[in-house]
Subunit: 323 residues, 4 copies
């Protein structure tokens, strides 16, 4: 069994709203509250933390809270997808807002340094378009690629990661799938930008997550791995392995094959579940899957793959799962 | 050209949030503000109004606001999908909450009477399930069917309408598509419950909206028609005809064929657009489509359909659109 | 462990072609060859057999072949979706072809009697439409419902089953999902027509198969169950449990709950696999899943469902699968 | 109006089969028959021709037939996806078959030279996988990239084009979307390989075709454009503009913006329509859309895009279509 370390997006422990339950799904929770909740999850060691932290909470508060709960910052994700950036961060039609997005990211970089985070994550969820005919796709490329390039060049000591997603909140996001994001990063001509492989995002971008992992690894652009699940049409952010059990197992197997050793992060929105319990369950499932990886006859699997023998490959795993 | 009257869901003029822009997409708007905005939309005559109306706003306030803006209440839609009903309204595991949902609906019926609304709409968005294995599907049926039956029987003078949707906020909603909803209504054994055919919901339930319209009409269960558009995987609530232009035209044609004469309601979430402009544009598009219906050679179309001649049927309409 | 009996669609053992490999995926196989192949699958007892049987093969040949291989006919499925019915069987625009389709079905009924089959299955794969505007949906309903009603009334001693599917070969099939098919059957006003719940068809019609099973059972219309798997967008006809393992387990659990005792039929197209091996593997997987059902703490599951506790429900099953 | 030239895949005029109508949808048609049918389509000038041509038909026969019907060869597409390559061409587990696929392609290159075709197209439809766990994704990449690189290097005078598709006949094809294919081509390190942007393939790979066009153009890898339509879940190969009218218009607009001047090819499977009529209708629709492009207020559109004003951008086009 690999000695996986676990993390989570801090948002998992915050209060959720959606467009219907505008009065929210759970009690309010500040960044500090969320850190405290994360601290209750046995095995959870690192967090991906949104910046800004919220009213009146400073870096030192966060640092102390993390220390108090035996957690550390794995990533800082600047909030560039809230109200002011509703029409885009890097691709906002207003140059002043594009500048503000970059400033926000620069602050995030500084905070990442102060907290010792391993990378700064960009998730430009409002960058894209909603309707046919609406967008100048060339311009979207130039702005998106240009903005990340500029940020990456401004902080050569820092690692950056782009988390692609097909859609939501936009009906179409610019950084939409693994290959597009890798292509965009290559176009940036920088060394310190990689891809976050979020298993759920991969699933609903019509990718096979294990194949996307391989792709990012092949181009040396795998920056982080996030795990969750969904129904393939939307970013449902459900518990790990709850829908695509075998494909999540294939992800765990692939992580071994490529020698991944960074923490695995949970990215869930347990609207109707207890977040601490949801995190615990996902970690338990991932560990169980990882233990199964040890029991797979890897030589027999390689042989089945060489022959493209789907039934044999499946059988190796089904017998482990079902008996 | 048919003399269509138009309406809208009042939420279209309220403030939107989603799980990312928790600080909202536009300025706050009370029910009275939203009525005022709706009043700015030329051609908009009726509203589907959520109940409760919000802090400090009573039926008389709403009645006055409607009158002031030359609007009337077409429907009352009780809020049974907010925080307290996060685990379901009619199917909440807690009997006290199920009762509260019914009470809320009964208040909605009373309000509908007071405002002269044509129907009370149920959209039990939190009734369903998220995960495999989670639900007792038989129980969901009994509770959902039983609750609407009870309400319908309690107010035989009132018309009711169920708005089906495949998912969101649940990953699976109980009233998921047209046929399931009609079957459930038949199972209720009541005469005063029908279906809301929301074009967008139909599209992403893998239906053909014109066919679903026909189905509801065949069983005499068409209670209302809402129009919007989406990308077929999610309830994007975009402007009418923006994605599925020809299918929206087919809807308009079908509405003529079945002799529908009730107002057509807009159900949109213009997150990044001005709601008043969004409503105006949709009404303009629908009127343009309806004017095109007049120009379709209906006999030639009927003939093409009799022969199942897809190219001829398409050509009749494409030549109208493209020349 | 339930004492399941197994069957298969005979097509699983025939030669496959598709629109690319028009020179076929395997060697030619007559109906008698296919019966012989089916006979090699340990545990396979019954077949769903297409009629006509092919050149020079009569009922007595089939009867003998079945006997020789210890198989029996579970169903007869008339070929009403080949070349002559490319524009529809029950809904063909040509009345002569509609009549021919009914005649073909009547012959199928007679053959079913001669072979002692339990039901005659209708899969009107060419009945539907491909393009917007092409179809008169009302006429499709009348013809489809009318044709099956007429056949059912003509043979009150025989059980009939409709196998719904969302699409393929048409882009839209008339009998598209469980609820529509049940509604259509109710509209027929006959007692001897039911639904085939094909797990794969249910999955890509955006249903939850276990829920669709419950629905058909609730209306006393479950006629047969077929098992296979797919990627939710197309009828890939893959091996049982290969993609949706947990949902297939939920199907097996539901079959127990509703007391189903008829044979479970495989409906696969193993284009690149050995059909006999593919059938064996699927039967093995189904038996393993069924054995797991025995080990589920059903009381704990019922309790989790009562509380709508998704994490608890999942955990009960994940711990069985993963440890 | 641009002076578009038109072409078609020759398969459009051949006999179709699918896995149900194994006795085919139309009369048999040899390559020469198909060329004759193509010659009946007014405005059709070039063909994408499959090689081998079929029994007893040589290059000179094809050359003469093309000349007789005023057609020329635009592309040669080697048959590397029929029976012998059912488990893959470039990625077949059997090295002898991989070699045979390359040999077939080399013959295709030679034929392309003899017929003066502009490019050789690779559509490795059987290269990919069907099941989770089945494939060694790294090996698929190496074989696919390596094979095309080898072929491209062996014929530096020839242009090559890869036609990506998400799936079918495999449930997962290796060259699955635009970005993956561009990335793979860059990895080949060759100058004479580009991408075929098939509008339908783009649609069901969850791309926006106009954006994918821009992407291929940006990287100077656009080799050819094929037009058809589908329902976004499968490669239905329907008539141009029949489902996604506005998006097809956006494609036509983008082709102008990037200065594309090569022939536009139809790629359709009119199973139940007359192929000549289907081709005529698609050409008519494309020309009508192109004429509409002339009437779009391009400055106003650019302005709407700069402001990301979706309603304004849509309105510009809707008013052209609907009035």
């Amino acid at each position: 069994m690999a000695d996986w370390r676990f993390g989570a997006g801090i948002w998992m422990f915050c209060q959720f709203v959606d467009r219907y339950a505008t009065d929210a799904y759970g009690p309010p929770a500040t960044t500090l509250d969320a850190i405290a909740s994360a601290g209750e999850v046995e095995g959870l060691e690192v967090l991906d933390i949104n910046y800004p932290f919220g009213d009146g909470i400073g870096v030192s508060d966060v640092r102390e809270a993390l220390a108090r709960h035996n957690l550390s910052a794995q990533a800082i994700t600047p909030h560039i997808y809230m109200r002011e950036f509703a029409r885009g961060a890097f691709t906002n039609p207003d140059p002043a807002l594009r500048k503000r997005a970059l400033d926000r990211c620069r602050e995030g970089i500084e905070v990442a340094r102060e907290l010792g985070a391993k990378y700064v994550k960009f998730w430009p969820g409002q960058d894209g378009y909603d309707y046919p005919l609406q967008a100048d796709y060339g311009w979207l490329w130039e702005q998106s690629v240009g903005a990340v390039r500029e940020l990456a060049n401004s902080a050569p000591d820092m690692q950056f990661a782009i988390e692609y997603k097909l859609k939501e909140p936009r009906t179409h996001m610019f950084f939409c799938n693994a290959a597009t994001t890798i292509l965009a990063i290559q176009d940036m001509g920088v060394d310190n930008v990689g891809v976050v492989l979020d298993v759920g995002h991969s699933l609903f971008a019509k990718e096979t997550p294990a194949e996307a992992l391989r792709l990012a690894h092949r181009f040396d652009r795998l920056a982080s791995v996030e795990i969750n699940d969904n129904w393939r049409e939307w970013d449902d952010d459900l518990a790990a392995g709850s829908i695509h059990l075998v494909e999540t197992l294939e992800v765990m197997l692939t992580l071994r094959e490529i020698g991944w050793s960074e923490p695995l992060l949970l990215d869930q929105f347990p609207f109707r579940e207890n977040p601490v319990a949801a995190a615990r369950e996902s970690i338990r499932t991932i560990r169980q899957l990882d233990a199964l990886v040890d029991r797979i006859d890897r030589e027999a699997l390689a042989d089945a793959r060489r022959r493209q023998d789907a039934l044999a490959a499946q059988r190796l795993v089904l017998d482990l799962l079902l008996t």
